[in-house]
């Protein structure tokens, strides 16, 4: 066996990871709708994204044999795109926090005030 | 050549319009040249076409848009009638306006939209299809608005807003009517009329109502007339345009087109929608007169008078009898000439003597005789004093009423005439008989007075010479004989 050998996923793996992916997407959707802190929403996006990718990966691994490379390539592209978006999003959150002093969109709940001692 | 001429007529006002927008405020001369040149050229072209049409030529120009949507310019007799009227009056109004405004600011805009307005009217007159009519109708609405708002003071802006408030829903109604109809019948070409196919009668009635709603605002049918008196806030040339050259005429013209070229009088009768329209027109005639009676401002009174007078044409169209239609078509011209005279004069009183209200007219006849004579001719014509223009119209209308089996029209006409007299006679009394106040006033403005005199003369002529084949009446007679009520 050499390292260059791509190895075959177990027969049950697609099912397991597809369901896992489905759960992650659901969790992420919940988070996206329920969470108000912007950084946590970014996390929720990433959870949804990776759930989708896992689901896609499971699709690629269906049918036994070597996993279909096309979804793998698409997933890599997707991961990079998601990273780009996340980077822009978190920078936006930070810039917003700097200028407004909060990381919540106006009209969507309030952040509890920082403790007194924080006022340096 | 046949396609070129109608387009040239259109462009003769469109090009000055667009060019004027780009002119500097200071280039009065160039602007005036453009404007006058355009109107003279247009008149010349129309005369040329008139002669050619009389010789049997046909003109048609077509611009294809998307499938099923094309602009067709075509000259039939009715179109020529309206076209000639608006071209003549445009020329006169141009002269008047140039004198009226002198070197006031914002004139590029004014003359630009003014020409655009006339271009729209020209297109409207020449429209050979329903959709072309719609397009120019809307263009007319849009180009009129800045004119109404021209003074940009509070009443003008309010008037302009009011105008849009009435005109745009009307446009929407017209649009729905046109598309509803055409989606069932295909493009409607005026000459052929629409083939209603399997459209249900109620749908047809609804479409008819929408049409009347659409054009009725411009024709100032009660209760859609509210914008017109308010628009009196605009300067006198604009009033002249609204009342005589373009807008309300377009509405009345639209009613004729809808009844005779889209539905056809038989269908209108069969659907039973003619009589209600005639009733509405009659109510408008009377109500307009009554309201005119209550006005103290000259222009307001004239405006309500228009409400009343234009509905003569609507009434004529709704009666769908040949004689009535002859009267209506003739009135299209007559009313235009008379009303523009009155507005010219009202503008002169305002401009040269600062008189806006009726009680300011006392003794004005001596101080401003030319103007006052012209005014009097117009007013008497409106009342229908034989043999003036108004009398001819009313005569034919009355005959038409009898012909159509609606003798009550006579009563309407009689009532209207009494009311006309009631609101015009006091003015004449004040002009000529009432002891003069010391109000200043002179007529040293030939640019203002001459157009008024010309239109007054013309309105006198069309009445006196009504029997001539070249008079509007003769023309209308010809139209009806040749084309309509086949």
């Amino acid at each position: 066996m050499t390292g260059a050998d791509p190895f075959l996923p177990a027969a049950h793996a697609p099912d397991v990871y597809a369901l896992g992916g489905a759960v992650l997407v659901g969790l992420g959707v919940w988070g996206l709708l329920a969470l108000r802190h912007l950084l946590r929403r970014v996390v929720a996006f990433n959870v949804i994204g990776s759930g989708i990718f896992l689901f896609f990966g499971a699709i690629a691994a269906r049918g036994g044999g070597e996993p279909d490379p096309v979804p793998q390539a698409l997933i890599i592209t997707g991961i990079v795109v998601a990273l780009s978006a996340s980077a822009l999003a978190v920078t936006l959150v930070a810039a917003l926090a700097q200028r407004r002093g909060g990381a919540v969109l106006p009209g969507e709940g309030r952040q509890p005030p920082e403790a007194e001692t924080d006022a340096k | 050549m046949t396609a070129l001429l109608p387009v040239a007529v259109l462009l003769s006002s469109l090009i000055p319009a667009i060019a004027t927008f780009f002119l500097d405020q200071q280039s009065y001369r160039l602007r005036n040249t453009l404007s006058l040149g355009g109107s003279v050229l247009k008149l010349a072209l129309i005369v040329a076409m008139l002669l050619a049409v009389a010789g049997g030529a046909a003109y048609e120009a077509r611009l294809s848009l998307v499938p099923g949507l094309y602009i067709l310019l075509r000259l039939d007799a009715v179109a020529l009638l309206f076209l000639s009227l608006s071209a003549v009056l445009w020329l006169l109004t141009n002269v008047y306006a140039i004198a009226y405004f002198g070197t006031k600011p914002e004139l590029s805009r004014f003359f630009g939209f003014f020409s655009l307005c006339v271009a729209a009217t020209t297109g409207l007159a020449m429209s050979g299809t329903l959709i072309s009519f719609l397009i120019f109708f809307e263009l007319l609405t849009l180009s009129t608005w800045p004119l109404v708002a021209h003074k940009q003071d509070r009443p003008s802006l309010a008037a302009a807003r009011r105008y849009l408030f009435y005109a745009l829903p009307a446009s929407a109604a017209l649009l729905i009517a046109v598309i509803w109809l055409e989606s069932a019948t295909g493009p409607v070409v005026f000459e052929d009329g629409a083939d209603f196919g399997d459209l249900s009668e109620n749908s047809q009635r609804a479409i008819f109502a929408l049409f009347i709603l659409g054009v009725g605002v411009k024709a100032a049918l009660v209760p859609l007339h509210g914008w017109l008196p308010a628009a009196m806030a605009a300067p006198a040339p604009v009033s002249a345009l609204l009342h005589a050259v373009a807008v309300v005429k377009a509405g009345a013209f639209g009613v004729i087109r809808v009844i005779y070229d889209v539905f056809g009088p038989e269908r209108v009768a069969a659907l039973g929608v003619g009589v209600p329209l005639a009733v509405v027109a009659s109510v408008t005639i009377l109500w307009g007169s009554i309201r005119a009676l209550q006005q103290d401002e000259i222009k307001k009174r004239l405006a309500f008078s228009t409400v009343s007078q234009v509905s003569y044409i609507v009434l004529a169209a709704a009666l769908a009898s040949p004689a009535a239609l002859v009267g209506g078509l003739a009135h299209l011209v007559h009313q235009g000439l008379m009303k523009i005279t009155l507005f010219f004069c009202a503008g002169i009183y305002d401009e040269r003597a600062g008189v806006k209200r009726i009680d300011g007219l006392d003794g004005m006849g001596r101080r401003m005789p030319w103007t006052s004579v012209a005014f009097s001719v117009g007013a008497l014509g409106m009342i229908g004093l034989p043999p003036l223009a108004g009398f001819v119209s009313k005569l034919y209308l009355g005959l038409g009423g009898l012909e159509a089996g609606a003798p009550w029209v006579l009563a309407v006409l009689a009532g209207s005439t009494l009311l006309n007299a009631a609101y015009f006679m006091p003015l004449l009394y004040r002009l000529w008989i009432a002891p003069g106040a010391d109000a200043a006033g002179d007529e040293r403005a030939p640019g203002l007075v001459v157009p008024a005199a010309v239109t007054a003369l013309a309105s006198l002529a069309v009445g006196v010479l009504a029997a001539s084949a070249l008079s509007p009446l003769g023309w209308a007679d010809l139209i009806v004989e040749r084309g309509y009520l086949r």
């Binding site: 997407v25 996206l32 912007l38 929403r41 996006f45 949804i48 994204g49 989708i52 689901f55 896609f56 699709i59 096309v70 698409l74 997707g78 795109v81 780009s84 978006a85 822009l88 999003a89 936006l92 810039a95 917003l96 200028r99 407004r100 969109l105 106006p106 | 927008f21 611009l63 294809s64 848009l65 998307v66 499938p67 099923g68 949507l69 602009i71 590029s108 805009r109 719609l134 397009i135 809307e138 263009l139 609405t141 849009l142 940009q152 802006l157 807003r161 849009l164 745009l168 829903p169 446009s171 929407a172 109604a173 649009l175 729905i176 598309i179 509803w180 055409e182 989606s183 069932a184 295909g186």
Partner: protein, 488 residues
């Protein structure tokens, strides 16, 4: 090299160059936009004569590779985009010069704008669902950057809100794409049209549609749009409002009319139409109560986008084979195109007025028509298009769609179209009345005529789209799915 490849690569090459040599960026953008207009015209000519131009990129046909294709729809949008870009490049040269906008904006705007253009071209041309995903992500990131460009707190909030919607939309779309691949092993629009229908197709289409609707700001996903479009500098707003929503809309068209027309049930089509109608009404009503010009114009975008969705009930599903479908579909496209031109013109007008008067509250605009008649004219003409009055492109759109509405017996949509026009007149009247007021309480900054010509040219183009509508109509028919007999 074909005009198609040129249009794909040009904005990207220009963007890279603009990044390396920022000083030359404005000129570069201008030249590229002009070249883009030329190439788009050339391509339009080719397509009109030779039919759909299709290229398998990298030389691999689907399902392995990605195809790009210039059909009439794509070319029309490419051309409109290039025109708007040209105008934006001209306007931004003046408005976003370093001394006016600061070094940051003067550096960033150009490459970002070019990337946005590049992504639009890519989306309009692509035939691959995943490639479209990458394209709209590029679009989203560039658009977010444009929204945030001003750096003000309000703009950042708007950018954040936009980003949340856009990213959520992207993910939903991506999920649908994944399901499509899972069911059919291909992502090519053409191949999908011939697929054997699978059960999850409906779910996939629903997910993709929901995602794209969020990106297109379809009611009720529109809340992000007005602040985002109103908060950016005017040239950016022009692109955001005039161009950006069109990309996701085009993908929706590709999905519903080309890839999966079989999934278009009447209920779903009705729902899309109702959402569009709600957008028309709600967007217009909100526009009526806005205190600032840019907000009015932005809410108007919500309303105007709504019209485009009426084509789903009018031309989608079974209706696609009906004689009126061609008209309805093309009407929707006319709406998208003329709105793009007119809306860009409006935002550019707003930008000039803001420079002149220092703000865009309605009271600030008072009397500006006198010192800036050409801008007022441009705004007026653009307004004519948005109201759908003849002879503008907006009128052609409305005419075609209304005709289809009556012909198909769905006259309710016609009422929406007519009512929307009235509401548009009402909300656009407010700024117009101020602009045309007699007194101008301030002494406005003088604006050169050349600047004013730019929005005017765009607005005139929007009008011309109605006046010269036969060539674009014919162009749009090239490659149109379900080519039914021509309209009525």
């Amino acid at each position: 090299m074909s005009a198609l490849v040129f249009l794909l690569a040009l904005p990207l090459v220009a963007a890279l160059a603009a990044l390396v040599a920022p000083r030359g960026a404005p000129a570069l953008t201008l030249i590229s936009a002009a070249a883009g207009v030329g190439a788009a015209l050339r391509l339009a000519q080719t397509v009109a004569q030779g039919g759909v131009q299709e290229i398998a990129l990298a030389g691999w046909a689907p399902p392995l590779g990605i195809t790009v294709a210039a059909d009439g729809l794509a070319v029309a949008f490419l051309l409109m985009t290039a025109l708007v870009m040209l105008a934006v490049a001209l306007a931004a040269r003046a408005e976003l010069a370093p001394e006016r906008a600061g070094a940051r904006v003067a550096f960033g705007f150009w490459p970002i704008a070019l990337l946005l253009w590049g992504s639009l071209n890519a989306v309009f041309l692509s035939r691959d669902l995943f490639n479209l995903y990458v394209g709209i992500e590029l679009l989203t990131l560039a658009a977010v950057a444009l929204v945030a460009l001003s750096g003000k707190a309000g703009a950042l909030v708007a950018a954040m809100r936009y980003m949340i919607f856009a990213l959520a939309g992207s993910l939903l779309y991506l999920l649908g794409v994944v399901l499509v691949y899972g069911a059919h092993g291909t992502l090519d629009v053409g191949l999908l049209a011939d697929r054997t229908v699978a059960d999850p197709d409906a779910l996939a289409l629903a997910l993709m549609t929901a995602g794209l609707a969020a990106k297109t700001a379809l009611f009720p996903f529109h809340v992000w749009l007005p602040p985002a479009h109103a908060g950016a500098p005017a040239p950016a707003s022009a692109m955001l409002s005039g161009l950006v929503p069109k990309a996701s809309f085009v993908i929706l068209i590709r999905l519903w009319f080309e890839a999966m027309p079989d999934q278009a049930g009447s209920g779903a089509l009705l729902l899309l139409g109702l959402m569009g109608a709600a957008a028309v009404i709600w967007g217009s009503l909100r526009a009526l109560s806005q205190p600032r010009l840019k907000l009015i114009v932005a809410y108007s975008t919500v309303a105007q986008l709504g019209y485009m969705f009426l084509i789903f009930p009018l031309a989608g599903g079974d209706g696609a084979a009906q004689p009126w479908a061609a008209g309805a579909w093309t009407g929707g496209m006319f709406q998208a195109l003329s709105h793009g031109l007119a809306k860009a013109a409006m935002f550019l007008c707003a930008g000039l007025w803001i420079i002149a008067a220092g703000g865009d509250r309605l009271a600030d605009l008072r009397g500006l028509a006198r010192p800036m008649p050409m801008t007022a004219m441009a705004f007026g003409l653009a307004a004519v298009t948005l109201m759908g009055l003849p002879p503008s492109g907006g009128f052609t759109a409305k005419y075609l769609m209304m005709t289809a509405a009556f012909a198909s017996g769905q006259w309710g949509w016609a009422l929406v179209l007519a009512g929307g026009g009235l509401l548009a007149a009402a909300y656009l009247y407010r700024p117009m009345a101020e602009v045309f007021a007699r007194d101008c309480p301030i002494t406005p900054q003088p604006i050169p005529r050349a600047w004013q010509l730019v929005p005017l040219a765009l607005a005139v183009a929007a009008i011309m789209l109605g006046l010269i509508s036969a060539p674009p109509f014919d162009l749009l028919q090239v490659g149109r799915p379900e080519a039914a007999e021509e309209g009525l």
